[in-house]
């Protein structure tokens, strides 16, 4: 659906915007997470078929002509995986931040540029 696609892209870009402008480490990760959500919405939007329902055979969907009635199951499967992975990455990022804070007592990304050139 185009509206959700636009929404997803918007969230993705807002997420990137946050990553590019926010100095606070946690906010950068929030930005990353927003971008992630945007990505997921994009994926699901691409799998959507107009007027069709979830790919689950039950009372609503007949096994015989299921093919004509369901949305694409593959993007759903992919997003499922992506969401879990997103969580994993977020968790590791956050634990980095926790440790960085322990060492440096700062949450500003500008305070972490001892390595350069």
């Amino acid at each position: 659906m185009i509206s959700t696609l636009i929404l997803g892209i918007a969230l993705l870009i807002i997420g990137f915007y946050a990553m590019l402008t926010q100095k606070n480490l946690i906010k950068i990760v929030i930005g990353f997470s927003i971008a992630d959500t945007g990505t997921h919405i994009i994926i699901v939007s691409l799998g959507y078929l107009r007027g069709k329902t979830a790919p689950i055979i039950d009372n609503a969907v007949n096994a015989v002509n299921a093919v004509q009635e369901v949305v694409d199951p593959i993007p759903s499967a992919l997003v499922l995986t992506a969401i879990v992975i997103g969580l994993a990455v977020t968790a590791v990022m956050l634990s980095f931040i926790v440790e960085m804070y322990k060492k440096n007592k700062s949450l500003s990304i500008d305070d972490y540029q001892e390595l350069k050139w």
Partner: protein
């Protein structure tokens, strides 16, 4: 200032990259060949009403194994990073009432979680969702400070063994020459039954256990539990 302009430009650039996707977007009308195969295959070959589940557990089983691994890695990684040195817990004083209710609630949540992943092939939801539900039960436990110690070790074993068993099922498929991670190591059963769809429910249950324990581990580590 220059940086701001560059940021702005790069954002505009990003929009430009995705613009053609929007302007030339065509909503698909029909399933493509692969998806059609999946829907048909799921129903006729695997006997799994929830096509998404059959895709996740079977057709793209390797992804799921990988996904579980990613989560596992995150668990290990978070543990490795935080090393659990921090002694402080989240201090929420739990009243007796809360403790009692939460124990009951936890039990209920656990049952719900197990229900979700065992029925993954029939209804929406499955291992991941079930696992999260289980984890949320433990979260509740953690927050209400109930029996935290006992659970930790068990969590570990569940985490390791469920993962191992998952791999084991995969290898069984290889040994039986039906293919790695194939659900055909078990009979298909009746379409729509709980015990049907070959090994799908088994695998999904293991995934559920694994994910649940992994997420719990993450929560426990992040939450400051030793």
């Amino acid at each position: 200032m220059i940086k701001k302009v560059v940021v702005l430009l790069s954002i505009i650039g990003l929009i430009a990259i995705f613009m053609p996707m929007i302007t030339q977007f065509q909503e698909r009308e029909n399933l493509n060949e692969l998806a059609t195969d999946y829907v048909n295959g799921s129903i006729h070959e695997l006997g799994t009403p929830n096509v998404v589940t059959s895709v996740i557990v079977t057709y793209r089983g390797l992804d799921t194994l990988g996904e579980v691994t990613v989560l596992f890695l995150a668990t290990v990684g978070v543990g490795f990073l935080l090393k659990g040195k921090s002694e402080d817990k989240i201090e929420i004083s739990a009243s007796e009432l809360l403790e009692t209710t939460s124990s009951v609630l936890v039990a209920m949540i656990m049952v719900l979680g197990i229900y979700i992943f065992t029925h993954g092939h029939l209804t929406p939801g499955g291992g991941f969702q079930g696992g999260v539900v289980i984890a949320s039960g433990f979260l509740l436990m953690l927050l209400s400070n109930v029996n935290a110690k006992m659970n930790h070790s068990i969590m570990h074993f569940v985490e390791s063994l469920s993962g191992f068993a998952y791999v084991g099922i995969g290898v069984t498929g290889l040994v039986l020459t039906v293919g790695f991670l194939s659900p055909k190591i078990l009979p298909l059963g009746n379409f729509g039954d709980l015990f049907s769809a070959g090994a799908i429910p088994v695998i999904y249950s293991l995934v559920g256990l694994k994910v649940g324990s992994e997420l719990t581990s993450i929560l426990v580590t992040m939450g400051g539990e030793k």
